[in-house]
């Protein structure tokens, strides 16, 4: 009984925690920061941590609800079970909860949980977002079939950045593009040819376009006057860049090895000239997979009609045994007088071309100074004649070369390769040739 009394007496002396000390109120500076600063602080945290701040004190209960960026991924929604229904219910529950409690505009919405499959709940959330003014929308469906986007997504006219992974796009017929869309990233998506073309041409402010592994269309007809960055990897029949005079960074990978019959390509302009017709300001170019083969189809001139004077970085995936590809590469190189960095990667699984190999004449390797070329990387070679000729050509024409890195495909023949490399003359006194061991 005594100790009971003691508790009561003691507790009366101390202030109950419900009424904070005045001193505490003074030192509690953070709770008084204005809403927009609190949003900024909380947006550095994962959504999960941000919501957890609601238990800190009464003032913090609803500080997180005005967060303009909502990211639902594996960090914000932590799950332990593997049961698909449980997972789905959990994720849906959480997102519904957050959206209901949320107050104010949502500027960025990202849903990218590795366990979530496409579900009709996503439709509901997109509808909710379309009523607001969402600016960035990222949806990544990591499991299951292509998720068909609801038509309400196409009403979000405030979109600046749209990123989709494993989705099916079928906009309503009245859809007329996203008028202020700046960046579009579509990977593992399906859409029809006309839908694709319409999408690109009706987004006038589009500056960045990424396309990877797409189905449903094979002609890349890109008409985008403000495009600056273009990254594509997939299977397509042709590329046509129209009105893309500002395009500065291009990376193209053609994943399929289509045979290009020379006779079929009609007209005087081969793919090479057509491709570069509207690329005067290009600065970085990556020609990956089989795209060089595509460029080599048709007539390949000695050099392009207008040189790419702003191009400073070039990376080419090439089959050194294919004469056409070699000529195409040479044409490219000759058209880039200001190139600073060059990377050439050999396509190893290609077999030796049936045509006679020693076709590249001396005159094809006409002197063509690369006055800015400083760094060259060559990988995957095996020491063939073509490859050595090319290296020789580069060394002889690069007066300011600093470093050339060579990495063969395999150890066999590496010693022979080294012997040949030693012999080659170099135009640059500072040039280092660095040999890297092949990867296992």
């Amino acid at each position: 009984m005594n100790c009971f009394l003691w508790f009561i007496v003691f507790s009366k002396r101390k202030e109950p925690p419900m009424f904070p000390f005045n001193a505490e109120m003074e030192t509690d500076k953070i709770s008084k920061l204005p809403g927009h600063i609190m949003d900024r602080i909380l947006s550095h945290l994962s959504l999960r941590d941000a919501v957890r701040t609601s238990v800190l004190s009464s003032r913090w209960r609803y500080k997180w609800v005005t967060l303009p960026h909502l990211v639902f991924d594996n960090q914000s929604v932590v799950l332990s079970s593997q049961d698909q229904t449980l997972i789905k219910n959990r994720i849906v529950n959480i997102i519904d909860h957050v959206l209901l409690l949320h107050v104010g505009p949502i500027h960025k919405f990202k849903l990218s949980h590795r366990e979530l499959q496409g579900a009709s709940d996503i439709d509901r959330w997109i509808l909710f977002l379309s009523r607001g003014s969402v600016k960035e929308f990222v949806l990544e469906i990591w499991k299951g079939l292509r998720y068909k986007l609801p038509s309400s997504l196409f009403i979000c006219q405030k979109l600046i950045h749209l990123e989709l992974f494993n989705c099916l796009l079928k906009p309503p017929p009245k859809f007329d593009g996203f008028k202020i869309l700046n960046s579009l990233d579509l990977q593992h998506i399906t859409m029809d040819q006309d839908v694709f073309e319409h999408m690109i041409s009706s987004c006038p402010l589009l500056e960045r376009l990424t396309l990877m592994n797409f189905d449903g269309f094979i002609h890349l007809n890109i008409c985008a006057p403000n495009l600056l960055f273009f990254d594509v990897g997939g299977v397509f029949e042709n590329v046509s860049l129209e009105n893309t005079f500002h395009l500065a960074i291009v990376s193209i990978g053609l994943y399929a090895n289509a045979g290009y019959d020379q006779n079929v390509i009609l007209g005087n302009t081969g793919n090479m000239i057509k491709f570069f017709a509207h690329l005067p300001r290009i600065q970085r170019l990556e020609v990956q997979c089989f795209f060089l083969k595509y460029l080599a189809a048709g007539k390949v001139p000695g050099r392009l009609p207008t040189p790419c004077i702003e191009l400073n970085y070039l990376s080419i995936r090439i089959n050194f045994n294919d004469v056409e590809e070699n000529l195409a590469a040479l044409c490219l190189l000759r058209s880039c007088p200001n190139i600073q960095e060059l990377e050439m990667l050999a396509r190893p699984e290609e077999q030796t071309s049936v045509r006679a190999v020693a076709n590249i004449l001396e005159e094809d390797y006409l002197s063509c100074p690369f006055n800015q070329l400083q760094l060259v990387k060559i990988a995957g070679i095996s020491g063939g004649r073509q490859e050595l000729d090319f290296i020789n050509f580069l060394l002889a024409n690069s007066p300011v070369l600093e470093r050339m890195t060579i990495k063969p495909a395999a150890l066999d023949g590496a010693l022979e390769l080294l012997k040949e490399l030693l012999r080659l003359r170099r135009a640059s006194v500072r040039a280092e040739i660095i040999y890297l061991d092949p990867e296992r």
């Binding site: 508790f7 507790s11 101390k14 109950p16 925690p17 419900m18 904070p20 000390f21 505490e24 030192t27 509690d28 500076k29 953070i30 709770s31 204005p34 927009h36 600063i37 900024r40 602080i41 550095h44 945290l45 959504l47 999960r48 941590d49 919501v51 957890r52 701040t53 609601s54 238990v55 800190l56 004190s57 009464s58 913090w60 209960r61 594996n74 960090q75 932590v78 799950l79 332990s80 079970s81 593997q82 959990r90 529950n93 957050v98 590795r114 990591w142 299951g144 494993n166 593992h188 592994n213 990254d231 990897g233 299977v235 990978g253 994943y255 090895n257 990956q288 089989f290 990667l345 190893p348």
Partner: protein, 338 residues
Amino acid sequence: MMSYIWLQTADGSIQQVEQEVAMFCPSICHEIQTGMGSSKNCAISLPSQVNPAMLSLILDYCRFHQVRGHSNKEHKSFDEKFVRMDTKTLCELTSAADSLQLKPLVDLTSCALARMIEGKTPEEIRETFHLPDDLTEEEKLEPLRNISDDPRIRLLNRLYARKRKELKERDRSKNVEVEEELVDERSVDDLLLFINGGNGASKDVRASKSKKKNRKRKDQQNCAPSNCTDKESNVLNSMRHNAKAHSHFLPNFGDALKLHIEDDRFAPEGDFDDGVDDPVLREEIDREVEDFARRLNSDWPERMQEILSLGQERKRAPMSTDWNGSLRTYARLDLVQK
């Protein structure tokens, strides 16, 4: 020939500052352009959040950053050292920088504050920022139910449960009548959700980020279309990360999209385990609970008394019965765990 401008802080004191440095703040820059600040009489009056101490910090920041010669590394190391201050000053500085529209500094300080919040328990955060702990237990549990599945929360609850049990036993020994056991109305699902939260699966699930965008290596050996597309291999990779040691899964590429993982160790629905399978982890948590208990021991009994006594006065009257109900539940769970 350096030109100076005059700035006046909220407390009335006026100081002279190099113009270049002060121009780094957009709002001061704006004022200068309208002709203010050229002499002592028309000094630019700064917003109330900017007291002399804050002003000197802000000027230090501006002085460094307005020089163009520094490398990124130098900027970063300066920034890191700059934000090493107590939370009170940091908050004031954020406020002051915001009032001067100095965005880079606001970003820097916000990030520093976020780092102080990240990954800490509520207690630690309250301590760091001197926040009053003025929420009821119920209010604390509500938002956590769906979002946070934290072992620390479970730890706290274990502690509370234990304390309640002790108190109950103490009451019992004083021959206080114990009410009939109330039926717990809360659904099994609710409790499960609360208890059965993520138990460290987070580290498995966090698969590597850059799998989707294979920009650099998109032209590998198998760039010809094969059965294993990027996504399928990604799915498989993430599967590999998720599956626990004992689980079985079908490594059939064709069915990759419809993979079904059977996890032997997945606790079935009826189990009231709190999700901690690992005995080592459980032991550790037990130890931590003891530690925690010891730490809280000094004020816990008083709090209990306060809550009990104040419960009747306020509108929290319904809470007290709920609270008793939850007490009942936790006690029961505790018994089940044993």
